[in-house]
């Protein structure tokens, strides 16, 4: 079945043909002309085209050519009307499949078309087949190429050697990077027999045999220094005969070496492990350290622990050795496992069921993660160490016990050690000096001496003794005696030196002293004999010889009794003996006999001498010839007796005169003391020779301080001093009053001083006498008097001003009117009353001052009446103040001098007015209780400061400048107080500055009217 296109311009033909072809099941299309046929051919592929040759515009042949252009595979069938050979061959030549002559027989048509379709089909198949074949060949080719490329890559980059052998065993191929490492040029060996190449290597021959037997295997062999690992395979032909062997070899020299080394190392390790004398145990730690198992132990370990492998390997450490936890071993294992850092377990005691020993462990972590412990039994070593330690301790104790300082140094003269005594001497602990030389211990000059000697000793070897000076830690320089020696090391070489010294300072001093003492004794002027306890002479000095005539040799071995003259009796000597043996010093006088028989007087002392145990072992006698002295003593005795007699007589006279003088002095003293005036007597040089108590008081200076010193010291007042000096020159006495302040804290005092000359009985001036009289009190009184006069004048002048002034105006002026004249006369009258009141006060005051009491004329009066009366009077005195009265409703009686009380109230109210200049209400209230009545007058004026309140009653108190009062304040209140006091009452004042003053007068109640 094919797709056919019918092209004929005749529709009938078209239809016919279509019908025929459809019978074969072909797909048929038609076209009426060439154009539409081409259209359709363009649009789709036709297997067969049946076309009329003759057609308008384009012939079928042309169509054929066109179709060929489009699709060369389409079979063309031409339908021709003229069946001539030319056209037909033309058609075939042009590529038509066949031609069909007209009239077209259906059967022919079908046959041809089918043939054409078949042809098309076959061609198609053929084409497909060819193309697929080509495709496959292409693929294979490409695959082969790829393979080859891969192979090339492998050969060129991987150090392998690709080789092949033919059936003779000849190298046919030898390629690859690996050849370079062999250092063999492949070209050189191609064609050579492999067996020749590996001559003698029977392994290679065997391998070749195997290969040619058809085996595929792996083998290792050596080429020069290279180790090759080869993969060998047989390459059979189609018949199965092995024609060639192919191999791939890799250079495994390094790996081989490494493997070998590892193997050797493992071997070594195993050997070590096996044969080591120290115990080695390998542990595996798991579970974060909770499980520690024994992986392996060596023979030594077995022996040391006395536990066979079977019982330990594979088991938990703690199971086998529970003590591992206490000794800290387990802890260390785990720590090493964790940190990878090796640890050392100090020698420790291990106790198991089988063994007890001292063990030391070194623990490491292996690269594999296992922990290895290498240990030794150090029990023996421990024993030795302990013993050594003991010996060292012992030695040190011994050295420290030696009281002499001891040290030892190395060959470089550095300290290796010392004992406690040395430490004390140099004042440093031994730890500080180890490794240092003497230069770091002592100042340069001492260190040099020591070091010089050390160097000498080390050079010469052997021993050294000498004395020298050393500086002790406390700063004292001590004499010391050295004993030094060198010591050698076990190998015989010089190890250093040891030194020990004795402090001989005290010894030297003692020696010195003894020498000194002996010289002294020798030189002594007195005779000295030293005897033993029995009195046998051991030594005498030269003075002894000169005294007694016996020489040293003559006295030794004898007793002092050789000097006995017979003048002393036995008792004398017995007493002497008992005195000295009891330890006391005996002193006395004797009469002795010299060697030449002459007698002499002797003064002797015997002193016992003690030994270290406190026993008397010697006596020292000191003798002095006193013969001369004795004679002289007698003469003196005579003289002194005469003298005594004369002195006695004189003394009696002297005592008498002294008594008289003392009496006189006492009298004067008494006078001076009692005189209350100060008395100062100076000499012609103004030196103070007498000053009495009163003068001391006045001047504030003690006589003892200035006795015999210039008056200037005593008298600080320039004027007085000047006066006193001029008194010396003046003919008559002089007077002076001066103000003197003893010290700044005290009130100044006023003193009068009178000075006059003192002359002796011949009229010569011998000094001055000054009498000072304290007039402070009088001075004060004077001041008060002046004050009083001043105040009085003021009190009187004030009302007088108005009186004089207005009276003069009235007399001289013509311009005054009637009202003015009346007013002024009123003023004059009032002020004269005021004047009278002031004078009355002054009179009273003066009387009071002289001690006269106030005379009262008392009468029974009504309180209210008195108060009302005085207020009425005082109202007129001021136009600025109002009086607020507050009186008790119940009338009350008091027994008083009415005039005086009125006077007192007047003074108080007057003050209230004066001290209330701004004006305002003055409260006057009276009240009473069971025993008293009270009248209070309160103003709201300028008030008083607290200090002032207390002084208000002082007679001459004048308020200070800041509250300068008007007239009358000076004495008014004092009068009030006097009056009220005289009545047995009291005055109370309450005042606040700027607020006002309240004066309350209290008087005894007489009677309540309604009682």
């Amino acid at each position: 079945m094919a797709s056919v296109l019918i092209v004929d311009d005749e529709k009938g033909m078209r239809d016919n043909l279509e019908a025929f072809l459809k019978l074969d099941g072909h797909e048929v299309r038609t076209a009426a002309d060439v154009e539409s046929a081409l259209e359709q051919i363009k649009g789709g592929k036709f297997d067969v085209v049946v076309s009329d040759i003759i057609m308008p515009r384009m012939s079928g042949v042309a169509l054929l050519q066109k179709v060929r252009e489009y699709n060369p595979n389409t079979q063309f069938i031409l339908i021709t009307g003229e069946p001539n050979v030319k056209t037909a061959s033309e058609a075939v030549r042009l590529g038509a499949f066949d031609y069909i002559p007209k009239p077209v027989r259906g059967a022919d048509l079908r046959q041809v078309v089918n043939a054409a379709a078949e042809s098309v089909r076959r061609q198609e198949k053929m084409r497909q087949y060819q193309s697929s074949l080509e495709g496959r060949v292409e693929e294979s080719h490409r695959a082969l190429e790829l393979s080859e490329e891969k192979l090339r890559t492998v050969i060129n980059h991987i150090p392998i050697i690709l080789w092949a052998l033919d059936e003779e065993g000849r190298m046919t191929l030898c390629e690859g990077l690996g050849m370079a490492s062999l250092g063999i040029d492949p070209a050189a060996i191609i064609g050579m027999k492999i067996t020749d190449l590996y001559a003698g290597d029977k392994f290679v021959s065997r391998d070749i045999e195997r290969a040619f037997a058809g085996e595929t295997f792996r083998t290792t062999h050596f080429v020069r220094n290279t180790v090759l690992d080869s993969f060998v395979t047989a390459f059979p032909d189609l018949h199965g005969k092995v024609r060639a062997v192919i191999g791939v070899s890799l250079d495994v020299t390094e790996r081989h070496r490494a493997e070998k080394a590892l193997q050797e190392s493992e071997e070594r390790f195993k050997e070590l492990f096996r044969s080591m004398r120290s115990g080695v145990v390998i542990y595996a730690v798991e579970n974060e350290g909770k499980s520690v198992t024994i992986k392996d132990i060596n023979t030594a370990a077995e022996a040391l622990d006395r536990v066979p492998r079977e019982e330990t390997v594979g088991r938990e450490l703690l199971e086998v050795f529970p003590c591992a936890a206490q000794t800290g071993f387990l802890e260390k294992i785990i720590r090493v496992w964790k940190t990878g850092l090796p640890e050392h377990l100090e020698p420790h005691l291990v106790e198991t069921e089988k063994i007890t020993c001292w063990r030391e462990n070194y623990i490491y972590r292996l690269p594999s993660g296992e922990v290895i412990s290498i240990f030794d039994d150090v029990s023996e070593r421990k024993k030795f160490e302990d013993r050594l330690q003991e010996q060292i301790q012992f030695l040190e104790t011994v050295l420290d016990t030696i009281p002499n300082p001891f040290y030892y140094k190395d060959t470089e003269r550095r300290y290796l050690g010392c004992n406690a005594a040395y430490e004390e001497f140099i004042g440093k602990p031994r730890a500080e000096l180890l490794g240092d030389t003497v230069y770091s211990l002592l100042p340069l000059q001492y260190a040099e001496i020591v070091d010089e000697k050390d160097v000498e000793l080390l050079q010469n070897g052997g021993k050294q003794t000498y004395s020298t000076k050393l500086l002790r830690a406390d700063g004292e320089v001590r004499d010391v005696f050295f004993n030094k020696a060198t010591f050698s090391r076990p190998d015989g070489s010089m190890g250093g030196l040891v030194g020990i010294f004795r402090d001989i300072t005290d010894f030297n001093l003692a020696q010195e002293q003894i020498r000194l003492q002996i010289s002294a004794l020798e030189a002594a002027a007195s005779g000295i004999a030293i005897t033993d306890y029995e009195g046998v002479i051991e030594w005498v000095n030269p003075a002894f010889t000169s005294l007694t005539g016996y020489s040293l040799e003559e006295t030794i071995g004898k007793k002092l009794s050789i000097l006995d003259s017979g003048h002393q009796n036995e008792d004398f000597y017995r007493q002497m003996r008992s005195c000295i043996v009891s330890g006391q010093i005996w002193r006395g006088e004797l009469i002795n006999k010299r060697k030449d028989g002459s007698i002499y007087f002797e003064e002797m002392s015997i002193t016992p001498v003690y030994n270290q145990l406190g026993e008397i072992n010697h006596f020292v006698s000191v003798k002095n010839d006193i013969t001369e002295r004795k004679a002289q003593e007698e003469k003196i005795r005579e003289y002194s007796q005469d003298l005594a007699r004369m002195v006695e007589e004189r003394t009696i006279n002297l005592n008498r005169s002294l008594k008289d003088t003392e009496q006189a002095r006492d009298r004067i003293d008494a006078i001076l003391k009692s005189v209350s005036d100060g008395l100062i007597v100076t000499d012609n040089f103004q030196r103070v020779i007498i000053m009495n108590r009163a003068a001391e008081e006045m001047l504030g200076i003690r006589f003892s301080q200035i006795i015999n010193r210039s008056i200037d010291f005593a008298i600080r007042d320039m004027e007085l001093r000047k006066e006193m000096k001029s008194a010396l020159e003046a003919d008559g006495p002089r007077h002076l009053e001066f103000r003197w302040q003893k010290d700044n804290s005290q009130k100044p005092m006023f003193v009068t001083a009178g000075m006059s000359k003192i002359v002796d009985k011949d009229g010569r001036q011998t000094g001055t006498v000054t009498i000072m009289h304290d007039v402070t009190h009088e001075h004060e009184i004077d001041q008060i008097k002046n004050e009083l006069i001043s105040t009085t004048a003021h009190e009187l002048r004030t009302p007088l001003t108005a009186i004089r002034g207005f009276s003069e105006l009235l007399l001289t002026r013509k311009d005054l009117d009637w009202d003015e004249k009346t007013q002024y006369l009123k003023y004059i009258n009032e002020q004269s009353l005021k004047l009278d009141s002031v004078i009355k006060d002054l009179m009273d005051l003066s009387r009071l001052q002289s001690g006269e009491p106030l005379k009262l004329t008392v009468d029974i009066c009504s309180l209210n009446e008195i108060v009302t009366d005085i207020v009425a009077q005082m109202k007129n005195m001021t136009d600025r103040h109002s009086f607020e009265l507050d009186l008790p409703t119940e009338p009350v009686l008091i027994k008083v001098d009415r005039d005086r009380i009125l006077h007192a109230l007047r003074n108080v109210i007057s003050n209230a007015i004066k001290f209330y200049p701004s004006g305002g209400p003055i409260n006057v209230c009276s009240s009473f209780d069971e025993s008293e009545v009270q009248i209070c007058i309160e103003d709201h004026g300028i008030g008083m400061e607290p200090e002032v309140v207390g002084k208000v009653f002082d007679i001459f108190y004048k308020a200070d400048i800041s509250t300068t009062a008007a007239e009358g304040a000076g004495i008014g209140m004092s009068i009030v107080k006097q009056i009220i006091d005289a009545h047995g009452g009291r005055v109370l004042i309450d005042s606040k500055p700027q607020k006002g003053t309240k004066v309350c007068i209290r008087l005894p109640l007489y009677k309540k009217m309604n009682a």
Partner: protein, 124 residues
């Protein structure tokens, strides 16, 4: 017309001086204590101030005189202290505070007029 300020705590004295000086052609002001004196002096700028020495209050006569003499408004005024004491100390004190003269109580009004005329004439 000259202005005169009279300062005294006693109203009789103030009136006495006022009447005394009435014969002259003066404008008279009065004050009864130091404070008032200072205020009036500053305000009225008197040509003459007659000041009593002893007065109760914040300032006494001396103090008031000093202030008046030191205040720019009133320092031109002539100050005469009126004192009942007349001791040397008062005179000195007066001079100290700058007072120009003093007058002793009790005084004759005629003498006072003369003094005032003198002082105020001199000023011219």
């Amino acid at each position: 017309m000259k202005k005169i300020l009279i300062v005294d705590d006693q109203k009789e004295v103030r009136e006495l001086v006022k009447v005394t000086l009435r014969v002259g052609d003066y404008e008279i002001f009065t004050a009864e204590n130091g404070e008032q004196a200072v205020d009036v002096a500053r305000q009225e700028k008197p040509d003459l101030v007659i000041m009593d020495v002893m007065m109760p209050g914040a300032y006494d006569g001396f103090e008031a005189a000093r202030i008046i003499k030191n205040s720019p408004e009133s320092r031109e005024a002539i100050v005469i202290m009126l004192t009942a004491r007349g001791q040397q100390t008062d005179i000195d004190r007066g001079r100290e505070v700058g007072a120009d003269d003093y007058f002793v109580k009790p005084f004759s009004p005629l003498d006072l007029i003369q003094k005032v005329d003198e002082v105020l004439d001199n000023e011219e």
